[in-house]
């Protein structure tokens, strides 16, 4: 029987510094056969391991539709992420996965999509946004609201011109406080949403960001007329195994690593955000 | 004396001198005593103090930072409170110590043998190294007039067993501890129940660096048990809770006592002597022994 903990060996082929504490790693499989067979959906994640240091879960930040490599964005936080930040092109790491449910791509078809991202929360959404752009005919308007603490903390800045130019797509950038030379919006994400007033008809809002942002964005979206099933989010939780076994990431009876990380608001509301 | 205890507890709660009283109540088995946390006056009726009150409740003080807590404490528990005060883990003003005179508590594991009355039960080992006494620090003392003479007799030589063990050959000693530690399952009950183990993150749980193996193998277990005892040097007041909590019966007190004996011999240091005492390993004497140094 296969050892489910055995990761695939991947090589770091590029490292992009997104923000002062976030780096995006582009990873390429050593084994061509694996490369061929490896498939994932936006919203899923991998357990990325630095050999000898440990593993940590990271979502795919690039779309499976444009995949030469696997991209993961990593914020410097603890032991594994610190070790990852020390790494450079040519170094090898391990990945196992993909894990989790991913975004309900089929359910989103034919809908107006509102993407609400805060900080590194843009990572899984970037995967989905680019997936939607590559399957443009399946989706209606795309509205992207991306907030960060400061302009320095905005992720994937080279994508913005592309998104802005894409058909029926709008991008709204916001930072928490006014800065010099900042021409886009100012204010926290819920405030900005109230200003933009995105359409709620035939729409799905996909929210990803820090817990505090999610907490305050949900009521705003409900107020804007989004129904509970039409708000989906991906959750962060301490995960070790990614297999629904190690027992720490559950919210009620659901395991974030296996039954999530993508949940609808109605699911979470039922669970009272029970940890 | 339970009457006096309850009366005082009610008074403290009523006058809002404390927000909570940590004490003992009769356990579900009707014999042993378990911790109880009392916030309302009427609950004070559950408070007891007798030979079954084995636990060192000072371990719970860290759970209520900033709150005014009343705590029922016997001499050994008071010494751990003193160490906690020394180490700035408590504010003296935040705690109200209801001292109880103690002449020994029973060995809890003997309850399992079906014996129940105090006469049949052995006194806990820790009490044999302690003189029946009044706590050295308290805000209110509940005296135990009626039970005074039933107390345990202190051993003449509290470190007799340690010395006996020291006299064994190195191989024998290793074999003994290898066997004992091999049973350790690393449940960390010894740590969690210890009032002195308040580190925000124990070295056993740290990963940057990993100090020793977290696997329950010989190396990991030996390192854990040695460092646990070492980190208690000059701090362990021999309340014996670690040994009592250990589910697999490792004689942890024998390690603690060894250090206790050594620091007494080497540095004339006794843990929990007073609030102003300096921590053993953060001070030194010019004339500390160094015969072991080449």
């Amino acid at each position: 029987m296969k050892n489910i903990y055995l990761p695939h060996v991947v090589e770091i082929v590029d490292v992009q510094e997104e923000t002062p504490d976030v780096k995006t790693f582009k990873l390429k499989f050593r084994d061509n056969v694996v490369e061929e067979s490896f498939d994932y959906r936006p919203g899923q994640f991998v357990e990325l391991s630095v050999f000898g240091e440990g593993e940590a879960p990271f979502c795919f930040s690039n779309s499976p539709t444009r995949r030469n490599v696997i991209e993961c964005s990593v914020k410097r936080m603890g032991q594994v992420t610190e070790a990852l930040h020390e790494m450079d092109t040519g170094d090898t790491v391990g990945i196992r996965g993909p894990y989790g449910n991913g975004f309900p791509l089929e359910d989103l078809k034919g809908k107006n999509l509102l993407f609400v991202a805060g900080g590194i929360g843009l990572a899984p959404l970037r995967s989905l946004i680019n997936y939607c752009l590559d399957n443009r005919k399946d989706y209606k308007t795309l509205t992207i609201v991306n907030g960060a603490r400061t302009s320095k903390d905005l992720m994937y800045r080279n994508e913005y011109p592309v998104w802005e130019k894409a058909k029926d797509t709008s991008l709204h950038l916001t930072v928490d406080c006014q800065e010099e030379n900042w021409t886009c919006m100012v204010g926290v994400v819920p405030k900005v949403l109230e200003q933009i007033k995105p359409t709620c008809g035939n729409s799905v809002a996909i929210v990803c960001g820090p817990p505090i942002m999610i907490k305050f964005t949900m009521p705003t979206l409900l107020k804007l007329g989004f129904c509970e099933d039409a708000i989906i989010t991906t959750l962060e939780m301490k995960m070790k195994c990614g297999l629904g076994q190690c027992g720490r990431c559950n919210i009620g009876h659901l395991y974030v690593c296996k039954d999530g990380p993508v949940f609808s608001y109605s699911q979470l509301k039922d669970k009272n955000f029970q940890f | 004396m339970n009457v006096e205890l309850r009366k005082k507890a009610k008074e403290l709660l009523k006058t809002k001198q404390v927000e909570m009283i940590i004490g003992y109540q009769r356990g579900p088995d009707g014999i042993s005593a378990t911790p109880v946390f009392i916030t309302r006056e009427e609950e004070a009726e559950n408070l007891i103090w007798d030979v079954y009150c084995v636990y060192n409740l000072s371990n719970y003080l860290k759970d209520f930072p900033g709150k005014k807590i009343g705590i029922i404490a016997k001499e050994c528990d008071v010494r751990s409170i003193i160490v906690l005060l020394q180490e700035n883990q408590l504010k003296r003003d935040d705690i109200f110590i209801i001292g109880v005179e103690c002449s020994g508590v029973i060995a809890e594991h003997t309850l399992a043998s079906g014996k129940e009355s105090p006469g049949e039960l052995d006194f806990d080992e820790k009490c044999k190294a302690c003189r029946p006494s009044t706590p050295r620090l308290y805000d209110y003392l509940v005296s135990q007039k009626d039970q005074k003479d039933k107390g345990v007799l202190p051993e003449e030589n509290p470190y007799q067993d340690i010395r006996k063990f020291e006299a064994k050959s190195i191989e024998e000693r290793f074999k003994f501890w290898q066997e004992e530690f091999s049973r350790c399952i690393r449940c960390y009950a010894c740590r969690q129940i210890c009032p002195m183990c308040y580190c925000p993150r124990c070295v056993a749980d740290q990963t940057m660096p990993t100090w020793f193996s977290r696997a329950p193998d010989l190396e990991g277990n030996l390192a854990w048990n040695v460092i646990r005892a070492f980190h208690l040097a000059g701090r362990c007041i021999d309340c014996g809770e670690c040994e009592r909590a250990c589910p697999v019966g490792i004689p942890l007190r024998e390690v603690n006592k060894k250090i206790e004996k050594d620091i007494k011999e080497l540095f004339d240091y006794e843990a929990g002597a007073g609030v102003d005492q300096k921590p053993l390993l953060s001070c030194f004497d010019q004339n500390d022994p160094e015969d072991f140094i080449r």
Binding site: N3, I4, Q267 | I185, P216
Partner: protein, 356 residues
């Protein structure tokens, strides 16, 4: 199939089997208690009334399992440890523990899913499927299960912490057993349950006489009555999730790992990279760091949330996912809790309000 066998014959047979099998069984260490160990001399095998401190779980979901190694060389790489192959017989396993293994099977050895890469993830937004547990088979656990024959021992003297009957386990239950032994005068009555069991003990002993059978049945019928402790296990605990009750019952908890480590069904673990080896070690929901994020955030910051998680996992979540309680009533967590927290009592007395 029920047979009787003398103690002598039984131990002789075990001695023979030890040539081909590793024998695991309870062993009594004076003053320390009873421990499941690898048995080298059959005389060491303890088949009395006492219970082992640690459950048999430790031979299946080991306290630490070496999963991977990263060879120390310039080119980093990773290799898998292959699970050991030697076949084993675990003797003296109690019905509650065997049931515990069956419960663990649903986590670590679930019915094989078609593949490891879910092509059709359950759609968010839809009603999620009822079975939310793991669908991944763990090679190490599965292998340990496969290579081990379970020879159970019916309980004759449950203590005041035992409450298995409240959870549908019988002191003479056969769930998860290949063979079950009943102590009878002069030896054992031996019930062969599976073919594997038959393979090792099938040729042994003589048929039980009708009289003996009757006697055994009457003894077995009384076994359940020996249990003093009976608790009411609610269908769902959903309604008291936010109750103050959890704060109250968890106050004296010291956040140690005794209850989880000694539990035959608790299976939370940690993955640790240590000295270039990836280990899987026990972990427990009672530890404060269990859910601590690298960012410092902790969804279960106090004993209240942690103890509630333990109770809910056992008596609510697992039931939703797998239809059973994740508790077999073995009483270990009660017996060994240093502050005498009684999970049975807590579940029994839970102030369930009417369904919402």
């Amino acid at each position: 199939m029920l047979k009787s066998i003398t103690k002598e014959d039984f131990f002789t047979r075990v001695g023979e089997l030890s040539n081909d099998f590793e024998i695991i069984g309870p062993m009594e260490l004076p003053l320390k208690g009873i421990f499941y160990q690898s048995i080298l001399n059959t005389e060491d095998l303890y088949l009395g009334d006492g219970f082992a401190i640690e459950p048999i779980k430790k031979f299946f979901l080991e306290p630490s399992t070496r999963l991977l190694r990263y060879p120390w060389k310039n080119e980093p790489g990773v290799e898998s440890f292959s699970p050991p192959e030697r076949e084993r017989i675990a003797i003296g396993v109690r019905p509650c523990e065997a049931k515990g293994l069956v419960l663990l099977d649903s986590v670590f050895d679930p019915p094989a899913s078609s593949d490891l890469i879910p092509n059709s993830a359950p759609g968010a937004g839809k009603k999620s499927s009822n079975r939310a547990g793991s669908t991944y088979q763990d090679a190490f656990y599965t292998n340990n299960r496969k290579r081990t024959i379970i020879v159970g021992l019916a309980c004759g003297r449950p203590d005041r912490c035992c409450f298995c009957t409240s959870l549908g386990v019988s002191p003479a239950g056969t769930t998860g057993m290949d063979v079950l032994l009943f102590e009878i005068e002069g030896g054992f009555a031996i019930e062969i349950i599976t073919d594997r069991g038959k393979g090792i003990f099938g040729a042994l002993g003589k048929e039980l006489s009708e009289e003996e059978k009757k006697l055994l049945t009457s003894v077995n019928n009384k076994r359940e009555d020996l249990l003093e402790k009976k608790i009411r296990v609610p269908e769902s605990m959903d309604t008291i999730f936010t109750s103050d009750y959890w704060d109250k019952v968890s106050r004296s908890c010291i956040s140690c790992g005794i209850c989880t480590y000694l539990c035959p069904t608790c299976h939370c673990f940690d993955l640790i990279d240590e000295r270039r080896i990836k280990l899987r070690c026990y972990d427990g929901c009672s530890f404060p760091h269990f859910t601590l994020h690298a960012s410092g955030e902790n969804p279960r910051p106090t004993k209240k949330e942690r103890y509630r998680q333990r109770v809910f996992h056992k008596f609510d979540y697992f039931k939703i996912n797998f239809g059973e309680n994740l508790c077999v009533g073995c009483g270990r967590c009660i017996r060994f809790c240093p502050v005498k927290i009684d999970i049975g009592d807590i579940v029994d007395k839970a102030p369930l309000s009417k369904k919402r």
